[in-house]
C-alpha cells in the first residue's frame, strides 16, 4: 500500500469524523439524514481507494451496494418525515 493511498484514506477518515460530529449533534432529523448520506458517499470513495491499494476489484461491488443502500435510506427517511414524523412547527 503506497503512501498516496494511505494519505487518501487518512483524509477520508478525517472527513468521516467531521461528518460524525454533525450526525451526533445535528439539531434536527433532516440534518442527520444528510450526514448519513454523506457517510455513504465517503464509504464508496474509501471502497475505491481500498480496491486500488489491495488490487482486489471486488470491492467495487461492495461500493455499489453501499451507494444503493444510502440512497434507499434517504428516500425512506424523507417519506417518513413527510408522512408520519413529528412536526415541530
Amino acid at each position: 500500500m503506497s503512501i498516496v493511498m494511505l494519505v487518501g484514506l487518512a483524509v477520508m477518515s478525517l472527513a468521516l469524523c467531521l461528518t460524525f460530529i454533525r450526525l451526533f449533534r445535528g439539531p434536527s432529523l433532516p440534518d442527520r439524514v444528510v450526514a448519513m448520506e454523506l457517510f455513504s458517499s465517503i464509504l464508496v470513495g474509501m471502497m475505491g481507494v481500498i480496491a486500488i491499494a489491495t488490487e482486489v476489484s471486488f470491492f467495487l461491488d461492495v461500493a455499489i451496494v453501499v451507494a444503493l443502500m444510502g440512497f434507499m435510506a434517504t428516500i425512506g427517511f424523507s417519506r417518513f418525515l413527510e408522512r408520519g414524523g413529528p412536526r415541530d412547527d
Partner: protein, 144 residues
C-alpha cells in the same frame, strides 16, 4: 505516469470529500449543508472512481466504476431534492441571513399544501378547498 495520474485523482477526490465534511460541519443551515455535501461528495466519488478505472484498466472493472459514477450522479440530486423538501415541510429553521424564501407565500403549513399562485386568480376557493379536504381524507385513509 498512470500511477502519478491515479495518485492525483485519489488525492483530489479525498480532498473534495474532506471539503464536503467541513461544509456539513460548518455551514449554518440544512439547505446550505445539503448544497455543500451533494456536489462535493459526488465530485469526490467520481474522481476516485476515475482513478480506479485508470489503475485497473480491465473492461469489467471500468464498467463497474463507470456504473458507480452514473449511479451516484443520478441519485444524488434526487435524494437531495427529496430530503430538502421533507426538511422544509417539517419546519427546518432557515438561516437568519436568508434573503429570499420563494416557497413561503405558496405553502400553507396548516393543511400541508402547495399553491402555484395561478389558482388564486380564478377565485374558485370553496370548490378548491372541498376538493383539497377530500384529497386529505383519502390520503389519511390510505395511510392507515
Amino acid at each position: 505516469m498512470i500511477d502519478g495520474l491515479v495518485a492525483v485523482l485519489v488525492l483530489a477526490g479525498s480532498a473534495f470529500m474532506c471539503l464536503a465534511a467541513l461544509g456539513i460541519l460548518r455551514l449554518p443551515d440544512l439547505l446550505t449543508r445539503m448544497h455543500a455535501t451533494t456536489k462535493a461528495a459526488t465530485l469526490g466519488v467520481s474522481l476516485i472512481m476515475l482513478g480506479v478505472c485508470l489503475h485497473f484498466a480491465v473492461e469489467t472493472v471500468v464498467a463497474r466504476a463507470l456504473a458507480i459514477i452514473l449511479f451516484i450522479m443520478m441519485t444524488a440530486p434526487v435524494a437531495a431534492h427529496v430530503i430538502g423538501r421533507a426538511g422544509y415541510f417539517v419546519g427546518a429553521r432557515l438561516w437568519s441571513g436568508t434573503l429570499k424564501d420563494e416557497l413561503k407565500p405558496h405553502y400553507d403549513p396548516l393543511n400541508h399544501r402547495l399553491h402555484s399562485g395561478l389558482d388564486d386568480a380564478d377565485a374558485s376557493s370553496p370548490h378548491g378547498s372541498s376538493a383539497g379536504s377530500g384529497d386529505d381524507t383519502d390520503d389519511a385513509a390510505s395511510g392507515k
